[in-house]
Structures are given as structure tokens and as C-alpha cells.
Subunit: 205 residues, 2 copies
């Protein structure tokens, strides 16, 4: 009796259909401006149908947030295979940057917007995606410590410091808090500031 399996497959496909339409609309138009009705229109189903596959809008956004993490991890992969741990760290920083600039809406969803965290909170679950991505950073920092690149004792604390710094630029940039610098200079300034940070932690402590 393959019926139940076919149904499951169809259910999965429907989820995917919704998710892909939603993602497309979101990345085109921005998350703030897309409604459940828009998504329903795009896939030619009624709005109520979406609620048969996702508890609410937050849960839908959380699912897309997950896709974002998959994509990010993929793009981090080449960096992770660099031999020198410090090179690896710098490259991870650059790729965090690049991911944010090339996928501003996805990045916003993953690291700034409230919706996905609200979804997690209301079924009090933990942010596994964030945890394991952060784990990659901690591991890299630990490798740097072990290799004697810098002399921090606590890899986790150092990782938070580094993440915060790199996240700071991107968050300020994406939420238009660096628009006071003229557009041409903006990205250049950020690059310089990032390089300065790298040089500083390399020689520091």
C-alpha cells in the first residue's frame, strides 16, 4: 500500500512549492512587503491552504531562514579547508560579509529579523542553526589559539568578540546606519575597518 507514502511525498512537495514561491517573492520584494495572500496567489491556492502546511507566518519565515543557513554553510565550505587557521578565520569573515551583501534579505532574516526567533521561542526550541554555525567559528578560533596565532585563553569568548565585530558592520550597513557616508566610500570604509580589525587581533594580546 504505497498510498500513504505517495501522500507524504505530495505533502512534502506542497511544502516545497509554498516555500519556493515564498522565497522568490520575499527575495524579490522584501520580507516586509509580502503577505500570505501574495504567496497564495503566486501558487494559485487559497491563503488558508498555507496554514495547512505552516502554523503561521513566523514558522514559514523560520523555514526560509533554514534554507538561508544551508546556503551560507555551503558558501563557507571552501574557507573551512584552508590550511592555515588564521587564513581560515579571515576568509570566514569575508564570506560572512559577502553573503550579507549578496543575500541581504536572507541575511536579515537569519540574523536581524524577529520573526524566526519568535517562531523558535513560542515552541521553546533552541536556535540549532545559529549554534552549529557559531560552532564552526569557535573551532577555527581554537585552532588559531592552538597554532599560537593569538594567545586568547577562551576560544568561545574570542569567537563572540570576532562574530560581533563582523556582524556589526553588516548589521549597521543593512539597516542603513552607514548611509551617512557617501555610497562610493561606504563599502571601502567597511573593508578598511575589517582589515584593521584583522590586523589588530593578529597582533593583539
Amino acid at each position: 500500500m504505497g498510498i500513504v507514502e505517495r501522500k507524504e511525498r505530495e505533502k512534502e512537495e506542497m511544502r516545497k512549492l509554498i516555500l519556493e514561491a515564498a522565497q522568490k517573492l520575499f527575495l524579490e520584494t522584501g520580507f516586509e512587503k509580502v503577505s500570505i495572500r501574495n504567496i497564495a496567489d503566486a501558487i494559485e491556492y487559497s491563503p488558508a491552504t498555507i496554514y495547512l502546511y505552516f502554523k503561521d507566518k513566523n514558522e514559514l519565515l523560520y523555514a526560509i531562514h533554514n534554507i538561508g543557513f544551508q546556503k551560507m554553510i555551503e558558501e563557507f565550505h571552501p574557507a573551512l579547508s584552508l590550511a592555515d587557521p588564521f587564513d581560515r578565520l579571515v576568509e570566514m569573515g569575508r564570506r560572512y560579509f559577502r553573503f550579507a551583501f549578496e543575500n541581504p534579505e536572507l541575511f536579515d532574516l537569519m540574523f536581524i529579523m524577529n520573526a524566526p526567533m519568535d517562531a523558535l521561542a513560542c515552541r521553546d526550541d533552541i536556535w540549532d542553526e545559529g549554534r552549529s554555525a557559531f560552532g564552526l567559528l569557535v573551532k577555527c578560533v581554537q585552532d588559531c589559539i592552538d597554532a599560537g596565532v593569538f594567545k586568547y585563553q577562551d576560544a568561545e569568548v574570542a569567537a563572540i568578540m570576532i562574530w560581533s565585530s563582523v556582524h556589526g558592520y553588516t548589521a549597521l550597513f543593512l539597516r542603513k546606519r552607514l548611509d551617512m557616508f557617501e555610497e562610493s566610500r561606504r563599502k571601502e570604509l567597511m573593508e578598511e575597518a575589517f582589515d584593521l580589525f584583522i590586523k589588530t587581533i593578529q597582533k593583539g594580546l
Copy 2:
């Protein structure tokens, strides 16, 4: 003929009435959950009245964002009169932190939310509040350079680096991206990471 002046005064008072009710509601309930109708109810006027004093909701949020900056500048004042420029820098960082934790909604509005920047953008104005607050930081960094505390050449680039770092913690924290650490350890970790950053830039380069 003092009539026109009285009218102006009344207009100003009405603006203030709206602004104060709005601020109270926003800080109590969070910006996402307060509607124009809620504000109108609180001051016992019709919703349409608010639009006689503010172009739209973004403009209202921008006005509150301004109040936030006044408050922040006030709270920065004691730090600015410290003799040693590096002490000044560290104290500014700590106060940025503290302001964010004690006024999470206001901070969010000032440095994370889109609304006030959208208000600025659609009357293509520049973010003066941010500019001048950032100016304070640049000045302090320049003083540090002049005093030989660190050897950066470009105070502005160094200031962006420092701002980004401090902003990074707070933004990640406020938007619940540090909730993967248990609550008791969270703030402690941030303090440690901040101290580590301070030590690093002090000795770096």
C-alpha cells in the same frame, strides 16, 4: 496679535501630547504591537487627528528616535569629560551597552529598525543624529591617536571598527541571536568579550 502665537503653542503641545503617549505605549508594549489607533485611544482623540501632526507612522517613529538620541547624548556626557582619552573611549563603549540594555526598545528604534531611516529616505534627508553621535566617537579616537594610545592613522576607519564591534554584541543580543547561551552566562560572556576587545585594541598595532 498673539493669537497666531498661541495657536502655534497649542500645535506644539498637541505634538508633544501625541509623542509622549506614543513613547509611553511603545516602551511599554514594544513598537511592533502599538497601532495609531492605540495611541489615539490613549490621548482620547481620533486616529485621523494624529495625521494632522505627523505625516505617517514612520515620521512619528522618527520623532521618538530623536528623543532617544537626546537621552543617549545626555547619558554619554559624564564619559566625555574623562581626562584620559582611552578611558573615555572605554566608558563610551560601556555606556552604549548600558543604554541598549536599559532602553532596548529605544535602542532598537535608533539603530536597528527600518522605520526611522525610511522616514529620512523618503524626504531624502541625511541622518544628522547618527552623524553627530558618530562624530563624538571619531573625536575620541583621534584623541587616542594623538595621545599615542594606539597607532591607527585613520581615526574614522578605527571609529567604524570600534562602533561595529560594540554594536555587534548589542544587536545580536537584542535580536535574540545570543539566546543559545544560557541566560545567566549571556551577559557575562558579552562583558568578557568586550573586555577582550578593549585589551586587544589597546595593545594592537
